[in-house]
Symmetry: C2
Subunit: 163 residues, 2 copies
């Protein structure tokens, strides 16, 4: 079994780290546009993007936020975590094809309330910080170890495919 | 033409507001799982979710973040905005079928730097705040009015559909 597990409050220590990587493909940007409703052409239209300061299409900044939230929910503390607060500073654009890695580090533990503060740094494949921030979460009460669920099957198609 | 337009710095005033609504369907939660990689069963598996404090599946908290970012990018200030910072406090869960509305209000303008501070409140159909926060953005320099792009065509299918 490929497991999906978590860390309960008593298993978490200051300085504990976890990381989570994802390659951001043009397909992910199309999916993020569909799910958010943000269809700005700087994300979707290479000809439009060529005339912006970015020169080519860029990912939505909040796509990095989605990947931070996945790192917290999948890695540290993992399933059963309750998200309380997140701050993010968007520092550099993410381009299609970039691989981003979220680095989480436990900065503070409020044992009485069960709250954990996590430093969040999203680096690209060149080691440059694209997003930095801080998360506050409630750590899981119960140990969870489940079989890793499958990613939902999703197909992205242009309208011409159905013509 | 159904236009997608923006507000440049000189057109923005303190107290200016905009809103943006989206019904969050189970399909959106599956898409968000696919794009983020967060396949926690509390979002995807009704049987698992029944045994959590939420009783049924809930949307990823950061899906509301995605909808905030869309409100900023599509409505106020609109296309050409550069996202600098976002804070979010997750207050209540969002369930499949809920309609969330992002309310943006201009709180501060730094005319010298071109920075705008936006109060962000995401309310559900009962008027309860599910997420609150603050965004800092750089307002667009140039007026943009373009034809509204289409949402990418996305199909969510279970593996059995292709069998």
């Amino acid at each position: 079994m490929t497991g999906l597990g978590n860390y309960t409050l008593d298993e978490i220590t200051i300085g504990q780290t976890a990381s989570y990587s994802k390659q951001v493909e043009a397909r992910d940007i199309q999916l993020f546009a569909a799910v958010s409703g943000d269809v700005n052409p700087v994300h979707l239209d290479p000809d439009f993007a060529a005339n912006t300061p970015f020169k080519r299409c860029i990912a939505h900044g909040m796509l990095s936020g989605a990947i931070i939230s996945a790192a917290i929910a999948m890695k540290l503390p993992g399933p059963g975590t309750i998200y309380l607060n997140q701050s993010m500073r968007f520092r550099l654009p993410v381009y299609p094809g970039d691989t981003v890695t979220v680095h989480l580090e436990v900065e503070a533990i409020n044992a009485r309330r069960g709250f954990i503060t996590l430093d969040c740094r999203v680096l690209n494949q060149d080691g440059k910080a694209v997003v930095t921030g801080t998360a506050e979460v409630m750590a899981p009460n119960e140990k969870i170890l489940i079989e890793s669920p499958q990613l939902p099957q999703v197909t992205v198609g242009s309208p011409s495919h159905s013509a």
